[in-house]
Amino acid sequence: MRAVAVVFKKEMLEILRDRRTLVAIALAVLASPIVLSVISQVATRTATQTYTVGYTGDVPAGLDTLLNATGLKLERVDDPAAAAKKQVDLGVAFSPSGIDEYYDPSRQSAQLAEVRLRVVLGQFDAARVAAALRQKGVDPSILNPLPVTPHPLSSPVQAAGNAFLSFFLPYILVTMCLTGGLSAALDSSAGERERKTLESLLLTPAPRTQVLVGKILAVSAISLVAALAAIASMLLALTQLKITAGTHIGLSPLAAAVMVWLAILLAASFSSVTLALGTLARNFRQGQAYVTPLYFITIFPASIVLFIPDFNPSLAYYLIPILNAVLVLRDAIVHDAVAWPALAVTTVSLIVTGAASWYAALRLFTREALLVKS
């Protein structure tokens, strides 16, 4: 096994001297805090944004004060329907028989203003009804014959934080395990052909299986470092930003352990796949063309939790590489528990994927055409 260590050491030395890989990792580490900072600012701005309501008719007494207090500014207009198209966010026509509301659903500001107005009107109506009932000597609670007292079994704020993590963390883990070592993988495979070093390497008596294992270990190591560094920077950024104010965002020891285990499996699998594809290529640029589809193949399952948050599949779904890792990690974060059968199936699936890719890479690495065509 000496050749494995020799190749690993040399590949790591080259990777650490390669600006492309170092810049990619640095950008990944910086990307999460920057993206989260932007999200935080947008969220804060949206919450404190004042929307304009164009109106006609007489505003019921007291409602104007309530609207102003909730960031809805009243502005008299001639035609609320026409004004709601562009001039104001929402149009309202007050009349003794009720309120006509005009808004354009294709405008996000109109949707937000509409929701805010509904909430205010609901509170206004409830207050007026309660006051009228009291005037007639009736207890307003009669309107609420079955009052509900919630007893959440875990902190709703913490749950919201976990839900946020369960969306983003698997996504970052999968994409960074792929992209963190991509440059190194191509350099180590297609780069050998491009630099004309492959022939000399294959001329050494070192077993080719060991040479390939050394390369895969080096690429896996750099992918793992990139993924864990990106996640660490994201968790650190979350503790500093307003988006999570009052919420303790962090991974439980169990979720952290599951994440590291999945990161190791994903990094090893992706390294084998990218090395196999890189071995097919004659140069770095061609290698990049070969691995580009991998982005799409990985991003779809990685983002499924974003689109279907309550996706709870049968055990068979855990055979699908990448999707299985995303689901296991999501469950570990949200429920702070591991479904061991799901983790076992996921582990076997990723190991089989990695082994198959490694075998393919080995076959490609030792075929005669590799040298003849180079």
Partner: protein, 241 residues
């Protein structure tokens, strides 16, 4: 001369649909420079690649110091050093690191590594640039790195495939001197070239390959025969004169 170091027996090799080698045979001995001659596309590089186990023979056999390339390829690789025209080096490693990497992969032990690498650097007069990254080296310096990594494990058989084709006059001369020195140390040196003038000056014996077949073999004087030089003999052999 010593015994047979490389024995090629009725070797045939196809690459795709091309019949590159069509039953060639020759023997190269220790302590001699053996010329593998022929025009571009004759099959010289393919022959060398089969000898050093990068390619498998389709028919016939190749033995290196008694080891069959098909049966014991790793034993063959331990005993062979190859220098090619394409000087591929790892650009982000220094010259010394490049050499040490191949030494370790060739089985040089940790205890011997520094002394072996240092000895090769001294022998090829590389001290002045051994610590520099390979990306900053000249073609001649890179060729020295390529030679150093091929000989660092002290193989008894050395093969040079068009080693001077990309080099200037000075660097080419150093390569030629190195081949002569290796021969004097008892190595079997196989020199593949299409530059017949070089072969005539260096080789003890030669084989001329044309379209995958041996068309002449023997001592350089035998093959030259009554002609002025090897080039004229070659033109006669292939009917181009």
């Amino acid at each position: 001369m010593s015994g047979v170091a490389v024995k090629v027996d009725r070797l045939a090799k196809n690459l795709g649909k091309n019949e590159v080698l069509r039953g060639i045979s020759f023997e190269a001995n220790s302590g001699e420079i053996f010329g593998l001659l022929g025009p571009n596309g004759a099959g010289k590089t393919t022959t060398l690649r089969v000898i050093c186990t990068l390619l498998q023979p389709d028919a016939g056999s190749v033995g290196v110091l008694g080891f069959d390339t098909r049966v014991e390829p790793q034993e063959v690789r331990r005993r062979v050093g190859v220098v090619t025209a394409e000087i591929g080096v790892y650009p982000r490693l220094s010259a010394r690191e490049n050499i040490a990497y191949f030494a370790e992969l060739s089985g040089v032990t940790d205890g011997e590594l520094n002394s072996r690498v240092g000895a090769v650097i001294d022998r090829l007069d590389m001290r002045s640039f051994a610590g520099q990254r390979a990306e900053s080296l000249s073609s001649g310096q890179k060729q020295k790195v390529a030679i150093a990594r091929a000989i660092v494990h002290d193989p008894p058989v050395l093969m040079f495939d068009e080693p001077t084709s990309n080099l200037d006059v000075l660097a080419s001369r150093e390569i030629r001197e190195f081949m002569i020195e290796s021969k004097q140390r008892g190595k079997c040196v196989i020199f593949s070239t299409h530059v017949l003038h070089d072969a005539e000056r260096l080789c003890d014996r030669v084989v001329i390959i044309h379209r995958g077949k041996v068309v002449a073999s023997g001592t350089t004087a035998d093959v030259r025969g009554p002609n002025r030089d090897l080039e004229d003999s070659f033109l006669d052999l292939v009917g181009a004169r």
